[in-house]
Amino acid sequence: MKFPLSESNSLSIDADIRLVNDGEFPMLLMNLLTANSNEGYKIAAMRIREYLRPNEDSDDYYNCINPGWFDDLQNEKIDYTTCIYCGYRKNCTINIEQQNYIEIVPFGNARIPSRNFINRQVLFPIISTIRSNTDPFFGFSMRAGSTRKLYLLTQTLFDSIFPNKSSINFQFDAAIGYDMPTGKAIWPIDQQFLEIYEQITGIINFEIIGKQGIMDGNLTSIDRKCLLDVAIMNGWIKDSDDGEVISELELLCSRLILVLKSKSMIYYFNKLANIQMTPILDLPYVSSGSGHLNLVLRWLELKPLDIQIYLDSLNDDLDESNHCKIVSKIFPLTVTEVPQGLVSLYPRFPAIALSPPHELDQIEIEQPACRIIDVVEHKGIERMLLLDCLGIDLGQVI
């Protein structure tokens, strides 16, 4: 289903407008402009249309594509002049391929509500005073105002494509993207960390992970407190756990900090570790430690396969068996393989939620893979999301 973003302007650029030289026309236009109800507007639009319909016949004339809007059963031919003054020009899809439009593509069980509902309630709830409709994703998408597809899918399908495997305690307001292999949201620091990580994994093998010459954690007191907060937030430690678990976590983090500070890595990570990081905004955590600890914590969450590499590197060491046992228990391996060639990082898509009234309370306005910018009640049976996928073909993701 296609919805024009701007008035139809491609009927015929060179077509002449017939001169309408009498006093009644301004009155008809005034009626249209001052109509204060939908019915009044419709009647005014019908009168103008009838008034401007050409009397004679010509091969250049054509049939209106929306005669039903005017209760016009005859649908006699009209011309460019009739169209240019049409009261519903902004909604008309005549020659839509030659103007900017939004196409709504349903996925799965999603059923597109009526054209009128989508037009008035979902896409353009505010009547525009200019010649084009304001794109609902204006300011969120670089492509706003241009022809593109929006995808409509049920919340259930969306959740199955982009499952939420982040900690239940995370607040996603400031998250910027979604990492497909781990099923977790990412924050601004993560994005920069992952960029550097991808850049260096081709150069350096993480075999250098190992004991790093230390047998006990050596975090600062601030870092220890931060680690404890994060461990509780992420469920890495439980009420029943003794102090051993946090000690082993400290040891793990201390070693990984040394990896980031090692000669071969420091060049890549030092700058990032030294920038200011605001908790909740740049990181998902409510407290922040040193830059290096913050990076290690995100590394643990976003690259769980490296924990396996770390454990493998200590496999033959009997002194490390207890440490390995506890670490592998805290971080069970749950990573989804992303097929070669497919994107693994996605931006958080802006979305408009369509919800039956009785399910409004179940809407999560900040989700790991999307942010809801508006909510519209509809009479469907299921919650749906209208997504602007920011240039990404959702068909390929599915």
Binding site: I126, T134, G139, S141, A174, I176, P188, P347, I365
Partner: protein, 370 residues
């Protein structure tokens, strides 16, 4: 829903006389106000908070808002800077490439202005100039280069030498390279205009989403004034578009009116409120903390152990918002006793996440990833 925009408008007008006060009606009519000469305050009902991110972006990025900068001296200086730098860039990549760079950089500056304000043009990650430090440890000095990046290259405007720990403004101590004098001067001119803009608080928009469970006339006037003042005048200095939710809630005792509850959409809207707000306590004149002389003397401690507070907690539970982030306030304050009213009530003020990234390392969600 109880929403009385005209009453709120009168309070705002009294507190901030030079403000441009708008309501949702104005926005629907396309009247966004001109925020360059007056501080903009938008008054909305709580259920509009549900589409606040959309509204904020439309305000920040709309053509109308761009007029805020268009035609101003800052815009003139930015265009002048781009014109001069573009002619220098053209020497390296040709006229077409330079034109494209100029257009793209102008668009970027507009976005930076929208999201970060004028300061972001020359400072921060999205600035049009860059400082490159060359460490010279043996000489206890740092050399800095002033660059204007374009494509994969830079225009190198000048160099300066600083002692370790020496703080220095962006425009100080430069030895400007030959041929770059006019470009450097154009940057200084932008800097001057930014200073003028930054000194003006008027560049900011305060969007208030207000709800009350009975007519505002029944609430303590000083409570309303204090809560609105806290939203506008005492607001933190970060961000050029601040969205705040302000709830005026009554306890059940001493309320003669039937008290409203939140509708489903309003409850959903409240999810946008962040923790760390403020709770204003306003016990009514019939509370025992005012009638009992001992308790009266023991204020404010007695307020926190009073039936009034138990009533307030009960009312929060009754409204179903006890688990919401906005209840996780960083501070509770008690209103003055100068203008006590019959109704016992309290107000909750909380900032809402508007997604403009002014405080984070990111400018725009999409720009980082794609």
């Amino acid at each position: 829903m109880m929403f009385e925009p005209e009453i709120v408008r009168s309070y705002v007008a009294e507190l901030v006389p030079n403000s441009n006060i708008l309501t949702n009606e104005d926005l629907v009519r396309g009247n966004y106000g001109m925020s360059n000469d007056e501080r903009r305050v938008i008054i909305s009902s709580l259920n509009e908070l549900i589409f606040m991110p959309k509204r904020v972006r439309q305000l920040l990025y709309s053509e109308n808002n761009r007029e805020m900068v268009s035609g101003t001296k800052l815009d003139f200086e930015i265009r002048n800077f781009l014109r001069i730098s573009s002619s220098l860039v053209a020497e390296n990549i040709g006229g077409d490439g330079a034109n494209e760079w100029q257009n793209q950089t102008y668009k970027k500056i507009r976005n930076v202005l929208a999201a970060e304000g004028p300061y972001g043009v020359l400072y921060g990650r999205n600035s049009v100039v860059e400082l490159l430090q060359i460490d010279m440890k043996s000489q206890f000095e740092v050399k800095e280069k002033l660059l204007v990046p374009y494509g994969n290259d830079n225009l190198e405007l000048g160099i300066r030498t600083l002692k370790y720990g020496q703080s220095c403004e962006l425009d100080e101590l430069w030895e400007v390279n030959s041929g770059f004098e006019s470009l450097f001067e154009s940057i200084l001119n932008i800097q001057n205009q930014i200073t003028k803009f930054s000194l003006s608080e008027n560049f900011r928009t305060f969007h208030l989403y207000i709800w009350s469970d009975q007519p505002l006339v029944n609430f303590q006037p000083s409570l309303i004034k204090e809560a609105i003042s806290e939203c506008i005048i005492s607001s933190p200095k970060s961000g050029i578009h601040l969205a705040k939710v302000l709830l005026f809630i009554s306890t059940n005792r001493f309320s003669s009116n039937e008290l409203k509850s939140f509708k489903e959409k309003e409850m959903l809207a409240l999810k946008r409120a962040l923790p760390g707000g403020r709770i204003f306590l306003s016990p009514g004149e019939n509370e025992e903390i005012f009638l009992d002389p001992v308790k009266k003397l023991n204020r404010p401690n007695s307020v926190f152990e009073s039936k009034y507070l138990t009533d307030a907690v009960e009312r929060v539970n009754e409204l179903g918002i006890s688990e919401f982030r906005l209840l996780d306030a960083s501070r509770a304050v008690i209103e003055s006793t100068q203008d006590l009213v019959r109704a016992s009530c309290f107000a909750i003020k909380s900032e809402c996440w508007n997604g403009t990234w002014a405080k984070s390392l990111e400018v725009d969600g999409e720009q980082v990833i794609i």
